[in-house]
Amino acid sequence: MKKIEVIQNVLEANESIAKRNQQLLDKHKVFAINIMSAPGAGKTSLILHTMSRLRAKLNIAVIEGDVASTVDAEKVQNVAKAVIQINTQNMPESCSLMAAMIEPALKELPLDDIELLLIENVGNLICPSEFTLGEHKRVVISSLPEGDDKPIKYPLIFIDAHAVIINKMDLLPYVDFDIATFRHSIAGLNPKAEIFQLSCKTGEGIEKWCSWVLKQLETNAKTIEASHTS
């Protein structure tokens, strides 16, 4: 018997495909956001609001990671420039999108006609934290009915987020959710994360979120340009 030293990260395969995805997106000047949350926190609702507010300025495409149905893809169909539903037929019970699922989807999208790509991940707070897709920004939505302890129970997904959204703010009078406790947990785990409080029902706070998206997109475009000229 012989022992072979390996020391190889098992997640490296996903990370190298993710890197390739991001290079492709950068080449076509597409800014991508990976939207993650527990089921029903408001990913599709946020995508719809973001599109209706930004579509006068940007061409927006959506990748839907909903595993079980096409309902979310149908909802965004009318507003988006293009929608791709990730085909999970060969991936039963997938609990997260992975970079290898995004790669073929990017080939189908008219990347040159798109500036913003919104990716709706599978509703899950555990698995998506292990996989990057090639996105530029990672966003996690928590909604008031879920309770303010989600960052404590599922820290990993919040640790890597660039922005955390507290959705369903319209329900504040009816649920026990302490905004200060939640914000304090996020600040501890991930002090750099931007926190947005909004409601996809009333539209409150959506504008601030959309300005952040626009600003990040512009900053990313400048970074890419600078790296080309230098």
Partner: protein
Amino acid sequence: MHELGVTENIVNIALAKAGEAQASKVIRINLVIGELSGFVPECIQFYFDSLSKDTIAQGAVLHFESVPAQLCCRDCSAIFHPEDTLWSCPQCGGQSVEILKGRELYIESLEVE
């Protein structure tokens, strides 16, 4: 189940390394898994058994060595193991922490014939 994709990588890496070493059989794969990583060893073993069928890795034992989580307090720099889900610093009570160890998942070594 995200273990499926991950197990495919484990099989691919093991077969490639065993191939380089001109081995005829993979006996054991030593994996290191962080306490905070969301992967379930039993689940990886389950997929491994089916994915490795009819390869030289068929029947190999997967051995998982767990790496305890290690956190660092951003306020006082204490390094500690989280004792509760709150992840508060035992030295100063602070709740601003960074993960130093505990998210890894890698193949440490293979035992082959």
